[in-house]
């Protein structure tokens, strides 16, 4: 995006004359390659190239927002013109459109066909019967704000979702699989390992018993729990939640440290600049068991400034304070000790999704399968189910037994809120939690 930042600053400055005013232009260039496999055949390849620009002006409790297709000079002028008109300012003079020559917007995925060949081989070996959708995304985002330096950031992401048929000891079994990671050659190696592990033969699953159960959330899956029960309620524009009334209160064991860290570029939700151009800083959601800080964007920031969590799904949407990567610090307990402490309960390694209702603090996490633990030893395979509970009792029910190793949670990928979907990630050690509601699901 070859913008004339000085001109844009000049257009925006009159809109940001008062303390707390916010005026900015945001642009995005996106290339997405989407590949669909079914049973060893690449059935569909889709390529998407989009450019978009938006302008935003916020003063007090009101905001004007304009978005247009394209990210060239003409698009910037059109968005700013719409904003200035609605703000009662002189619109910018209309200049003839200066479309970027085709070559200028070339970013693309030269490696998409190579990734397709490599993945075809991986699927053929580990999961020959499957239906997978792969998305390779590359975004370049640029922000020019009144009174601030301009910023640009680029991200490349790989997202694979689908189902495959795996062998179980009592016959074939369909299993879901999701893997979300920043794009790199190492990511494909990690994906291969994860798929091979997911495809290992297992015993036939029995239905999850309904009732209350103690659980170990293993394989980084605890990040999904904290994404729902900590990160969402602490997003600065969230409604009144049970956490909102408890600043600095002790809500969990002192061993628990949970941070939202967008700087972790090895995780799916990482970035160098947020979508308002702010460099992110890690935010403690729970520090030594005490409720931490809120995740803020510029519109909801205190005097200390935004924490760099202003995020948007694209240029057609205004930024909202959103979580990025939820990272839980390691403890010192090994797996054997975790199982011994659990005694009887369930072992969950993956969640397919989750939700939280902010006002009541109730949450649900869907898992595709689990493992029963009896007297500290692995027992039956369990089928799909739902783990449910309430925010504060769940935090209180976390045992001071956190695993030694922190695992990246690659099944955590896309988070939807207020109609906007953004990439999120997480990493966590194994975690033991008591008395959660559990029931089977179709």
């Amino acid at each position: 995006m070859n913008w004339d930042d000085d001109s844009i600053h000049r257009w925006l400055e009159p809109l940001a004359g008062r303390e707390g005013d916010l005026a900015e232009v945001f642009g995005e260039t996106l290339t997405e390659t989407c590949l669909e496999w079914r049973d060893g055949e690449l059935r569909e390849a889709r390529v998407r190239r989009e450019q978009g620009t938006s302008a935003r002006w916020r003063r007090g409790g009101s905001e004007q927002f304009a978005s247009v297709a394209g990210s060239d000079d003409a698009a910037v002028r059109e968005a700013v013109r719409a904003l200035r008109t609605s703000a009662g300012r002189d619109p910018l003079p209309i200049r003839s459109s200066r479309s970027a020559p085709a070559g200028e917007v070339e970013i693309g995925f030269p490696s998409a066909d190579r990734a397709a060949r490599r993945l075809s081989a991986i699927f053929a070996r580990h999961a020959p019967r499957h239906a997978f959708t792969l998305r390779l995304l590359e975004t370049e985002r640029r922000v020019v704000s009144a009174g601030r330096e301009s910023s640009s950031a680029t991200r490349r992401l790989l997202s694979l979702e689908g189902r495959f048929t795996a062998a179980s000891r009592a016959g074939d079994e369909e299993r879901p699989f999701a893997f979300h990671s920043p794009m790199s050659d190492a990511a494909l190696d990690e994906l291969k390992t994860a798929l091979a592990a997911a495809a290992t033969p297992r015993d036939r699953a029995v239905p999850v018993p309904q009732g209350e159960a103690d659980a170990i959330l293993a394989g980084g899956s605890a990040a999904v729990l904290f994404h729902e029960i900590l990160a969402h309620p602490l997003e600065a524009d969230a409604g009144v939640s049970p956490l909102r009334c408890l600043p600095d209160a002790r809500v969990a064991v002192s061993d628990l440290e949970v941070v939202d860290d967008a700087r972790r570029l090895d995780l799916f939700g990482g970035y160098e600049r947020d979508d308002e151009g702010t460099a992110p800083r890690p935010v403690k959601l729970v520090a030594s068991g005490l409720v931490g800080s809120r995740l803020t964007d510029r519109a909801h920031a205190p005097a200390s400034g935004s924490t760099g969590h202003g995020r948007r799904s694209g240029p057609a949407e205004p930024p909202l304070p959103r979580s990025s990567n939820v990272v839980v610090s390691a403890g010192s307990t090994d797996q054997e000790e975790m199982l011994r402490r659990l005694g009887n309960g369930i072992w969950i390694e993956e969640f397919l999704g989750g939700s939280v209702e902010i006002a009541s603090g109730t949450f649900r996490l869907r898992f595709p399968r689990a493992r029963r633990v009896r007297r500290g030893r692995f027992a039956d395979e369990l089928g799909a189910g739902v783990l449910a509970g309430e925010l504060l009792p769940a935090l209180e029910a976390i045992e001071p037994a956190l695993g030694r190793e922190v695992h990246a949670c690659r099944s955590l990928g896309w988070c939807a809120r207020a109609g906007q979907v953004v990439p999120v990630g997480g990493a966590a050690p194994d975690l033991l939690i008591r008395r959660l509601g559990v029931r089977p699901q179709l």
């Binding site: 569909e44 978009g52 699901q441």
Partner: protein, 416 residues
């Protein structure tokens, strides 16, 4: 690069086997809460090309013609499996309307008052996003198709929070209005969905009759939509006795748009008549596989995706409707499902469903009290056959395609 240039480019790559889609849209939106208001204006432009090259389907989309010209060769570079191209429709039609889009009305205050009144002060409107828009689509293809059509919408999302000491409930309700705002109906939906779960009472019966609010009936019908899309119907399905004899299901989007996303003329499709399965939906690709004709159900939720087979305006209908009060009075012991508390889960292959809802218990046609949360579960085949009544109060809901349902009366349902 212009549209004509793109047609020439596609014509060179895939002689006789291409389609070019263009969408221009403008929307105005008001997003209001108690202390904040956002006015948004959006101009969207989208281009999409679909073509068969070397026997295989390709798709590329972009926000402008230059970017699409770059995306086309990139999509062609990846080797995909061969598939027979569809039989492309050919027709010309130009339907252009008034290009202006007025801002949506400011309804936050009115809806706030209506929600407070409907809930007797227990619930409060926390946010309202209202959007009015216009989209113009043009589809051309190698067979000579050239159609242009316009669509308009007025839709939104409302957020409502209800509180009692020690308990709270938050609901988000999407809605779509055909013409005039229907504030009272929306307020009642918000109030019921937010306040009924606060009652703390579980389902008092383990089985009984089940009366579904139109919103719940629509969610159920939406979850059953694959029955009319899949190439192979599930094994349990008996065509002649798919549902109760009062049940009819149709899809008719002719009041929304003259053509589908592939340029095929919209028409009414009868899918279930007197409880028997009588039809299914096709887009160009599925029609080719089945050796038939498209029914006009190639859907483009966005220019970013190729057209997909899907319902467009699916709804229950009946030849013998009853008034809602008549259906209510027919209940001897049962539950009225006012709102869902989780998305319905339906496994058509396994013939299972599970629906979590909140509502009111009913004995001898009279409301007994709220039910905070209940779950109905069982076989889809039995549920459909036990539908014994459909009402006159048909309403449509976005889900994400439009689904319509009146109040639905079902016999012998198991509750938890």
């Amino acid at each position: 690069m212009t549209g004509d240039d793109l047609e020439a480019l596609l014509g060179q790559r895939a002689p006789g086997q291409w389609e070019l889609y263009r969408k221009s849209a403008e929307t105005r939106e008001v997003d209001a809460s108690g202390a904040f208001q956002r006015w948004a204006w959006r101009r969207e432009e989208g281009w999409a090309a679909r073509w068969w090259e070397a026997g295989a389907p390709r798709f590329a989309a972009a926000s402008g013609p230059d970017a699409l010209a770059l995306a086309v060769p990139e999509a062609a570079r990846i080797a995909v499996a061969a598939e027979r191209p569809p039989d492309w429709p050919s027709k010309t039609a130009a339907l252009a309307g008034e290009p202006t889009v007025e801002p949506p009305p400011a309804l936050f205050e009115d809806l706030s008052r209506a929600v407070a009144a409907a809930s007797r002060g227990e619930a409060a409107l926390a946010g309202l996003r209202l959007r009015r828009g216009r989209a113009e689509e043009r589809i051309v293809n190698a067979a000579g198709l050239d159609v242009t059509q316009e669509q308009r919408l007025l839709d939104g999302v409302a957020l409502c929070v209800a509180r009692r000491p020690g308990r709270a409930r938050e609901v988000r309700v999407p809605f779509r209005w055909n013409a005039e705002p229907e504030i009272e109906t929306l307020a009642r939906r918000l109030s019921d969905a937010a306040t009924l779960p606060l009652s703390d009472r579980p389902a008092p019966f383990s089985s009984g009759q089940w009366l579904l609010d139109p919103a719940v009936g629509a969610s159920l019908l939406g979850a059953l939509a694959p029955l009319w899309l899949d190439d192979k119907p599930p094994r349990w399905l008996v065509r002649e006795k798919m549902a109760g004899p009062v049940v009819g299901v149709a899809d008719d989007a002719s009041c929304d748009a003259a053509f589908d996303g592939e340029g095929v003329a919209t028409r009414r499709m009868l899918l279930v008549e007197d409880g028997a399965l009588v039809g299914r939906l096709h887009d160009l690709s599925s029609a080719k596989r089945a050796g038939g004709l498209s029914t006009g159900h190639g859907v483009r939720p966005s220019f970013r995706m190729p057209p997909l087979l899907g319902p467009r305006r699916l709804f229950f209908e009946t030849k013998s409707p009853s008034a809602p009060a008549v259906l209510l009075s027919a209940i001897t012991k049962g539950l009225f499902a006012s709102a869902l508390t989780a998305p319905p889960r339906v496994d058509l292959a396994a013939d299972r469903y599970e629906i979590e809802f909140t509502g009111v218990s009913i004995v001898a046609g009279r409301a007994q009290g709220p039910v905070a949360g209940a779950r109905a579960r069982g076989r889809v085949s039995e549920l459909l056959r036990r539908i014994a009544g459909l009402s006159t109060d048909l309403q449509f809901f976005p889900s994400p395609f439009l689904v319509g349902s009146p109040t639905v009366y079902i016999e012998r349902v198991s509750f938890e």
